[in-house]
Amino acid sequence: MDNSFYLLENLIHFTNKRHKVIASNIANIDTPDFRAKDLRFSKVLDKELLALTDTHDRHIRSESEKFNKNTTTLESNLIWADRNNVELDIEIAKMTENALLGEASIKLLSTRMRMFKDAVRRR
């Protein structure tokens, strides 16, 4: 059995977490001194999809952390007069994109489940 269930589960988990972070940014759009946060996705890909199996001690291992522990990061671009750097349009765009990614992974997971069900049923 391949690891697609595990991967998709993690992807859904990731999109849920990122959704919360973005919701928090939007909630704090007028909070003085607040800095926008985000979750990084590249490390997940690196760890889960592109990781190579090391068969020798001297193989270079991926240094990436597990994405569940991937901490929220600060982004600093422009800073408003209230020392806040949340840009509403960018946050909404990120949220839409993230929600679509979440929906896509849910759809993929459902399809995968259906494939397994079909395989079991039709001998």
Binding site: I12, A27, N28, M95, I106, L109, S110, M113
Partner: protein
């Protein structure tokens, strides 16, 4: 389980923006209030937001109104001898409220409120889709 904390985040923002709207409405209503219950001229008020964690670990931050601050800028003095609150020289102290500024603030509060409503709706959609796993 803090799956639903995203709703708490959006709800806290809706609540805070609504409080801000109340304060702005109060400022606009009192644009000509030359006296208050404690005698002095009405002073403009503003809200101060603060990021506040919604879960025990404090990873995700909602927002709350930290306090309602009083704007201590100079009141506007106008010459109007017929006004009941005019002083001996005929000058009346009017609240330090600029109605245009209040309108702009109100529009910003509305936009922020709307943004949080759409964030809330997107979260809801995502949850509904999650319910469909395996169907």
């Amino acid at each position: 389980m803090d799956s639903f904390s995203v709703f708490k985040i959006s709800a806290s923002a809706l609540d805070s923006q609504r409080k801000r709207m109340n304060v702005i409405a109060s400022n606009m209503a009192n644009v000509h209030s030359t006296s208050t219950e404690d005698q002095g001229v009405y002073q403009r008020k503003d809200v101060l937001f603060e990021a506040t964690p919604v879960d025990p670990k404090g990873k995700y931050e909602g927002v709350k109104v930290k306090e309602i601050v009083i704007d201590n800028t100079q009141p506007i003095v106008v010459y109007d001898p017929a006004h009941p609150d005019a002083d001996a020289e005929g000058y009346v102290t009017m609240p330090n409220i600029n109605i245009i500024e209040e309108m702009v603030n109100m529009m910003m509060a509305t936009r922020a409120y709307e943004a949080n409503v759409s964030a809330f709706n997107i979260s809801k959609e995502l949850f509904m889709k999650t319910m469909e796993i395996g169907r």
